[in-house]
């Protein structure tokens, strides 16, 4: 098909373009014009990331053919800033902290521009309605709505907290994400996936694909046979399957071709012969011993992957002592991260002498990963290449939430195909492939037994969990421990016993998602505790307050608590929500629920147990006064680079604009383990702080000498070093740095962080301990439609103890984003699979798009009110601790408890879909009827 010439105006400039009829506007804007501010989140009309303005109206460029916009005027995010001056909306987004990962931002801003153009400044509900096609997975929409509402206001006051250091790029479209990168001669890679849940690979014939014009390289699993896994104890994956496929979507072969369409076509030409095996699709299947083992090498005779049993104190004694012992069962459905940016990796292999031997060349991999260091070491292992020849760079990242925190098939395939072809290769997953990559929340079945005294004090807890791990190990071993270990917070549990088992099943692998391991048991326990409170006639808030752990204490399973503001959190949300006046007092259909939680600020033990620092940083000062921070920590949208810049700026007394952070590049930056388990602010923060303190020490030494004062009298602030009680005695920072350089040599310092020894000595004591814990409480308000079962969360009040809020806007954003994600988990998001029937073996994921996998829109997410509780952690950087994950944990139970308050049904299975809620309501109506009938009978 031939190209057609079209003329149109793009961002004010008349353009003539040669396009093919079947090219979408998004493809043309991104690939022909380099306007990569147009983002592709789904390529199917479901997410709004590709929104552009067509003659002033927002449209989806992924569903618009370029030939149909001939003669029109197109505006992309790149057009908004004129002559270096930001558009008022862009300024407002910066000012209000309305960006996190920034992937939704271009579409959000463009839609907002159209809203403001047609409505002046409309009320909040209209803004939410008009933005409802633009999904944001990070912010919980609250700050975005604020930014739009206030865009036309003069921004007189400076922002409350420093603006994210990468935000300007995000609001202008300048920020480059992995898929926005391209290199000369670059090829496009694609992975062929298994259509069977469980099968042996008999043969793979790639000859036809290889013969297709435009195909440059093809690979199959046996070319990279080395097994890997993010945890040393579960090395059960290969880059592509070799002799067996374990879920529908497992990678089997990969191709690199001159364009994506050719690569797509080539996959159709690969012939794989399978021999089907009976699939193991549920935990009921997994306990059976008559089904094949998914990983024959395990020590269990069924499909168990890991089993843990621990007891602290004598639980039975505790139950004997109790006035009331309650047992409940719960189920938590599987759900996934659904970050807006799909996984993407670009590999470029260069060899000095055109050799295809890995040993001789150098490989650079740009990848949308939360963990460049793990990707680096795993690539070296699997490619059998010296790690010193590999460089991993994380460009701008469009959200992770745990879904990009281990190596993925595309990273190995892009690298290997680049080695094979001698050309750069980029692979970007389709939205469907993102779902197959999963590593999200484990579906979990839970049993809880708790003993309490009449006053509500807990005497013992017993917990039993079965976790559906999917096809591979991932971080599942840690999940298995976390599931039990973290249940002893935030309430005092004097005796505790748990049993936790993870199973392999033929489904996409489960792994770590925001609140890793702790979300399911927290739901169970908080819902369980609500029922206990009710039985004892206690206010649910009160029973929580009576059982709280205290600062500077130790849990029964040896978790060391230092700073702890959980009481303040609960009190704050009670006050903000009017708990005392409203709980159990609202009209039927409306209700309030409360729940509390705690979460780790990084794991006390590194996963490889090597005793090395968990985070390292280099800070250097330039003669011009510029400060550069090099740190492996990955900014994934949460703002870690901003926090590191702030810590450095504060310590050195310079304006944050003088600090530049280089992050997540294995050649440039010292190792940081990655952005997971809420460790970055705490650990990388401490590393950077240490380096900056070293530097300011040297500067103070020099300045003290010059100003004839003691070092202790000096203060660094506002780009000056001055004497505390005589500020006229001062030296500018630049001058001071020069003097220090003259005295000490080049100004650069390293810092690192290794957690102190933590945890008990028993086997399994390594999972759970953290140098510090954050605490959260939420009150959720719901409205239940009793005719449809629809639950509307109309407001959430959150309070979170993050130690010291280094950047209040970022902390609030993390909390609001967590609440959004928690609402989705509670109500609409679920990974469901087709069941086995007579005709079909089952195991097909039912939600493979952002249409079917239902993350809450701006209408489904309520305003989220945040109170930050500061406790100043003794070991955190300037007192800070975690804020990125903990606030999710208590959301589903707060909603469950609110539903009970509203309509009197106890829900035990997450998510509370409309259908389940309606079924429970009908059950309630039936039993009420039954009761009234029996009372009538007995009255007669």
């Amino acid at each position: 098909m031939s190209k057609q010439l079209i003329t149109l105006t793009v961002n004010g400039e008349p353009s003539e373009l040669a396009v093919e009829s079947h090219w979408t506007l998004a493809e043309v804007l991104r690939e022909q014009l380099g306007l990569t501010g147009v983002k592709i989140g789904c390529n199917a009309g479901d997410c709004g990331a590709c929104t552009v303005l067509l003659d002033g109206k927002p449209i989806l460029s992924c569903l618009t053919l370029a030939v149909t916009v001939e003669g029109s005027s197109i505006e992309t995010i790149e057009a908004l800033a004129r002559n270096g001056v930001l558009h008022p909306l862009q300024k407002s987004f910066l000012h209000h902290g309305a960006t996190q990962c920034g992937f939704c931002t271009p579409g959000m801003i463009l839609t907002s521009k159209a809203i403001l153009a047609s409505n002046g400044t409309p009320p909040e509900n209209v803004i939410r309605d008009q933005l409802s096609g633009n999904m944001c997975r990070c912010t919980g929409y609250t700050k975005i709505v604020e930014a739009v509402q206030n865009a036309n206001q003069e921004l007189d006051d400076p922002p409350r907290s420093p603006i994210k250091v990468d935000a300007v790029g995000q609001v202008t479209g300048g920020a480059k994400y992995t898929d926005d990168l391209s290199l000369p001669r670059m090829l496009y890679g694609k992975i062929l996936r298994s259509p069977h849940a469980h099968a042996k690979i008999v043969s793979i014939d790639t000859s036809k694909a290889e013969a297709l014009p435009g195909v440059v390289a093809v690979m199959i699993g046996s070319e990279l046979p080395t097994k890997y896994g993010v945890l040393p104890a579960s090395q059960d994956e290969t880059a592509l399957c070799i002799d067996r496929v374990r879920f529908i979507g497992d990678g089997v072969a990969a191709v690199a071709a001159v364009d994506e369409r050719t690569a797509q076509e080539a996959l159709r030409l690969i012939n794989v012969l399978y021999e089907l095996l009976p699939p193991v699709l549920s935990m009921e299947d997994a306990v059976r011993t008559d089904l094949p083992k998914i990983h024959p090498e395990t020590k269990y005779e069924n499909n168990a992957a890991k089993q843990v049993e621990l007891e602290f104190g004598n639980a039975e004694e505790g139950f004997a002592e109790a006035d009331y012992v309650r047992e409940d069962e719960f189920h938590y459905g599987a759900n996934t991260h659904a970050m807006l940016e799909p996984h993407s990796a670009l590999a470029s292999f260069e060899s000095p002498n055109q050799s295809k031997s890995c040993k001789e060349g150098h490989l650079t991999l740009w990848s949308a990963t939360q963990v460049p260091h793990y990707v680096h070491r795993t690539l070296a292992k699997v490619l059998e290449m010296p790690a010193s020849h590999i460089r991993v760079i994380k460009p701008h990242l469009g959200g992770g939430f745990g879904g990009k925190s281990e190596p993925f098939a595309l990273e190995f395939c892009a690298a290997w195909l680049s080695i094979k072809s001698g050309r750069p290769v980029k692979i970007t997953y389709t939205r469907e492939e993102v779902f197959y990559s999963h590593r999200g929340r484990h579906a979990t079945k839970m049993q809880l037994k708790t003993g309490v005294k009449k006053d509500g004090s807990i005497t013992a807890v017993q917990y039993k969990a079965m976790l559906d791990g999917g096809a591979y190990g991932s971080y599942g071993l840690v999940t298995t421990y976390y599931s039990g270990q973290l249940l002893t917070l935030p309430y005092k549990v004097p005796r505790y016993k748990f049993e936790s088992t993870r199973f392999y099943t033929n489904k996409p692998p489960s792994g770590p998602k925001r609140g890793h391991g702790a979300v399911q048991p927290r739901f169970a326990f908080e819902a369980h505790l609500d029922r206990i409170a009710e039985h004892l006639g206690l206010d649910p808030a009160e029973i929580r307050l009576r059982n709280l752990v205290e600062p500077n204490s130790m849990t029964v399973n040896s978790l060391r608590i230092t700073s702890c503001g959980v009481k303040e959190c609960i009190e704050a949300v009670m006050k903000a929500s009017g708990w005392k006046e409203k709980h159990r007092k609202l009209p039927r259909g409306h209700g309030l629920g409360i729940a509390a939680s705690a979460y780790i600020s990084g794991a006390g033990k590194e996963i490889n147990w090597l005793g090395l620092p968990h985070s390292g940083a280099v800070v250097k000062i330039d003669r011009g006064g510029g400060v550069t921070v090099f740190c492996g920590a990955s900014d994934i949208g949460q703002g870690s680079s901003t926090v590191l810049a702030q810590l450095t700026a504060k310590t050195l007394g310079v304006d944050i604009s003088h600090v530049r952070v280089y992050e997540a590049d294995t050649d440039l930056t010292p190792v940081d383990l990655g952005s997971y388990s809420s460790r970055v602010t705490f650990m990388a923060g401490n590393a950077v702080l240490r380096a900056a303190e070293d530097l300011i020490g040297k500067i103070f030494d020099t300045v003290a000498e010059k100003l004839q004062t003691a070092k202790e009298n000096l203060v660094a602030r506002s780009n000056e070093i001055f004497v505390n009680d005589d500020p006229t005695k001062q030296v500018s920072f630049i001058e001071a740095a020069r003097l220090a350089e003259a005295k000490f040599g080049t100004l650069s310092a390293v810092g690192w962080y290794t957690p102190p020894p933590l945890g008990g000595t028993y086997k399994g004591a390594g999972a759970g301990p953290s140098p510090s814990y954050s605490f959260t409480a939420h009150v959720a308000k719901v409205e239940v439609d009793e005719e449809t079962g629809h639950v509307k969360v109309s407001k959430v009040w959150s309070a979170h103890d993050c130690g010291k809020a280094l950047n209040k806007t970022l902390v609030e954003g993390q909390i609001q984003g967590s609440v959004h994600m928690g609402i989705g988990e509670a109500l609409t998001e679920e990974m469901n699979y087709t069941r086995a029937t007579k005709e079909t073996p089952g195991g097909l994921l039912k939600a493979t798009s952002l249409l079917d996998y239902k993350i809450p829109t701006s209408i489904d997410t309520p305003p989220i009110d945040v109170t930050i509780v500061e406790t100043i952690d003794p070991e955190g950087p300037l007192g800070a601790k975690e804020a990125g994950e903990g606030p999710l944990l208590a959301v589903p139970p707060a909603i469950a408890n609110a539903i009970y308050d509203a309509v009197g049904i106890r829900l035990s299975s997450v998510p509370f879909t409309q259908e389940k809620v309606l079924a429970a309501l009908r059950g309630q109506a039936r039993s009420k009827k039954a009761i009234s009938e029996t009372t009538e009978v007995s009255a007669k």
Binding site: S21, L60, L63, T64, L65, V67, T68, Q264, E839, D852
Partner: protein, 338 residues
């Protein structure tokens, strides 16, 4: 989502040119209106046609106006945003405007057309998936997979000989209830048919539209004095989502308590919007007490036969039909406007 397969796009500038382009020519010509349904399906690897015809340049297909006789005429290529915002529509049939605003998202509505919404492909979760996903099961009655061929089975209801993919249009039920008709044109000529004759309850051949024919415009009759109408839908999220069930009801309310001339259409359950005459008969001419409304709603639900092929179980969707009918009737009774 995959990239689109290659095809040509014809962009006629006049009606005759358009009709010429639609003549069957062995290329498997497809009309693309807003493309918000068609292009998604094509990216998923079905409707592989070598040629699309886009009537977006033909002004007359975008009109929304009141005709001399008082009927309202809406060109098939009018966008959903334009229909919802049109004063003509808002004044005479606000229920249509509301129904249209419940479709998809604002940006989709800026491109999607009313004609495309009426011709929307039927949906099923074994169908609206990628080529890869479907290759895992093999084809079904509705679907031929290039690498796997057509299946002779329905994956949703293995015993069924007919495809029951769901008519998911949010504008169809209300337009049907309002008694709309459609003008259909081809190079051979034009015909005007009641919208009810346009649909067939068959997931594969759900439109009575021959090759070469185009849905040209929608005609709404002059509003009967006292006619009230409303659309309601149940979905999971309050934006984006397709209906799990929807209804469009129009009727006259006499003395504020008696329904007459009721037309009740239930959508998103079967392969066409379903009229429920027995429910209408039960309700018409009697005092609309709560009990009667509930009876009518139950009757409506008992007339429709969902199978489990979109979100929500059969039981839930049937219940939602009853709920929607009831809710909508109550809304009609209490709405201030005549």
């Amino acid at each position: 989502m995959m990239r689109l397969p290659s095809f040509d796009v014809a962009i006629p500038r006049t009606m005759p040119e358009l009709l010429e382009n639609l003549r069957p020519n062995g290329l498997g010509v497809k009309i693309m209106a807003g493309g918000t349904d068609l292009l998604v399906n094509m990216k998923q690897g079905f409707h592989i046609s070598r040629r699309l015809v886009w009537p977006g340049r033909i002004e007359e297909l975008r009109h929304i106006n009141t005709q001399i006789g008082g009927e309202i005429s809406i060109g098939a290529m009018a966008t959903l945003s334009d229909v919802a915002a049109s004063d003509v529509v808002k004044t005479s049939y606000p229920s249509l405007s509301k129904a249209v605003l419940s479709i998809a998202t604002p940006a989709v509505r800026n491109r999607a057309t009313i004609g495309g919404n009426l011709c929307l492909d039927t949906r099923c979760y074994f169908y609206n998936e990628s080529e890869f996903w479907r290759s895992s099961l093999g084809g079904c009655l509705k679907l031929n997979i290039p690498t796997h061929g057509t299946g002779d089975v329905c994956h949703s209801a293995p015993g069924n000989a007919m495809c029951s993919a769901v008519s998911s249009s949010d504008s169809a039920p209300i337009l049907l209830a309002l008694g709309a008709s459609v003008e259909i044109q081809s190079a051979q000529g034009k015909r005007i048919v009641p919208l009810s004759d346009f649909y067939a309850n068959d997931g594969m051949r759900f439109l009575n539209l021959a090759t070469g024919e185009l849905l040209k415009r929608i005609i709404l009759p002059v509003s009967r004095y006292g006619l009230r109408s409303a659309h309601n839908k149940v979905r999971s999220r309050q934006s984006v989502d397709f209906p799990l069930a929807n209804v469009g009801i129009a009727g006259v309310v006499e003395d504020g308590r008696v329904f007459t001339y009721l037309r009740i259409y239930v959508g998103a359950i079967q392969s066409a919007p379903i009229r429920v005459p027995s429910a209408e008969a039960l309700l018409n001419g009697r005092e609309a007490t709560t009990v009667l409304i509930e009876k009518g709603a139950e009757e409506a639900a008992s007339c429709v036969k969902p199978i489990q092929n979109v979100g929500g179980t059969v039981g839930y969707r049937k219940r939602m039909v009853a709920m929607l009918v009831k809710r909508t009737l109550v809304q009609l009774l209490t709405s201030a406007r005549d």
